[in-house]
């Protein structure tokens, strides 16, 4: 399924901190059984930012520390993100299938949830303004559509 402008608009609303737009669209897409494009866009944006932040010199310990710092920033909500799922997703984005069995076992919901939380942290770390965010989502849409 192609990544549509609706998917882009939805993810932009999430990254801009607009839950009133984001939550109903996200839940509707996930419940519709037609979330493939939506999920591809989330993954592509996540993977692009992970690579920007960690490539070319990355290591598993840096990934572990980063995930821990993001989860720590969630305080009592840290357990909502499975550390190993988030780490494995980041490693996969960097081309390493370390601990990939964790991803095989994790449900789609847990993976998308981890991607979204980590994506928000990555966007925040990158201090992205509106145009940088648009550029990221445009690149992510292109990349995701190439996979279709």
């Amino acid at each position: 399924m192609q990544v549509t402008d609706e998917h882009v608009k939805a993810l932009r609303s999430y990254l801009s901190g607009d839950p009133e737009v984001w939550i109903p669209v996200h839940e509707r897409l996930l419940a519709s059984g037609r979330a493939e494009g939506h999920e591809s866009l989330i993954w592509a944006a996540f993977a692009l930012l992970v690579r920007r932040k960690f490539s070319p010199t990355w290591s598993v310990d840096k990934v572990i520390r980063y995930v821990a710092s993001v989860r720590a920033s969630l305080g009592e909500q840290a357990s909502l993100i499975d550390a190993r799922v988030a780490e494995s997703l980041m490693c996969r984005a960097l081309g390493d299938e370390v601990n990939s069995e964790v991803l095989d076992k994790a449900g789609d919901k847990a993976k998308v949830h981890a991607e979204l939380v980590m994506l928000m942290a990555l966007v925040s770390d990158a201090n992205m303004d509106d145009s940088a965010l648009d550029e990221l989502l445009e690149s992510a849409q292109k990349v995701a559509n190439q996979w279709q």
Binding site: V60, D61, K62, V63, I64, R65, V67, A68, S69, R71, A72, S73, G75, E76, A78, S79, D82, A83, R84, E87, V98, N99
Partner: protein, 147 residues
């Protein structure tokens, strides 16, 4: 039943990083007794070390950061130390009521990894390590005499 001198010596060798001595002592350990005594000693030392590190105060962000730090230092591929188990067990040691259904192997292995990191961080000399283990032994003996 009580913790034996031999069990204390095994854990001491491990925590002092003397792995040759550890292997030697471990191979001589009475495994049946160790299933209770040695595991109780590890658990008591873990509780004591966690309490010292976090000063008895539970702050989830500190726990998550610390477990991440331990895994980054000691778990090269991120596959050995279960972060969920480690966080839950530290929280439990700090008095939090956690709902954890962990198997014995995960519990012991996680306690040992985290305990090792905590003791290394404390940079205990020989006398301080002895004192720490004596304290842990006292706690473990208390548990074993009142199961």
């Amino acid at each position: 039943m009580a913790v034996t001198d031999q069990e204390v010596a095994v854990l001491r060798a491990h925590l002092a990083g003397d792995f040759e001595e550890y292997e030697r002592l471990w191979s001589q350990l009475d495994r049946e007794a160790a299933a209770k005594g040695y595991t109780a000693l590890i658990a008591a030392a873990f509780f004591e070390a966690v309490d010292r590190r976090f000063s008895g105060q539970l702050n989830n962000a500190d726990v998550v950061e610390y477990v991440g730090e331990v895994r980054a230092r000691f778990d090269e591929r991120g596959t050995e130390i279960d972060p969920t188990a480690a966080e839950l067990m530290i929280r439990a040691a700090l008095g939090d009521e956690v709902n954890a259904d962990l198997d014995d192997e995960t519990v012991i292995s996680t306690q040992l990894w985290v305990l090792t990191a905590l003791v290394l961080d404390e940079e205990l000399d020989g006398a301080a390590l002895d004192e720490f283990l004596a304290e842990a032994r006292k706690t473990a003996d208390g548990w074993l005499s009142n199961p």
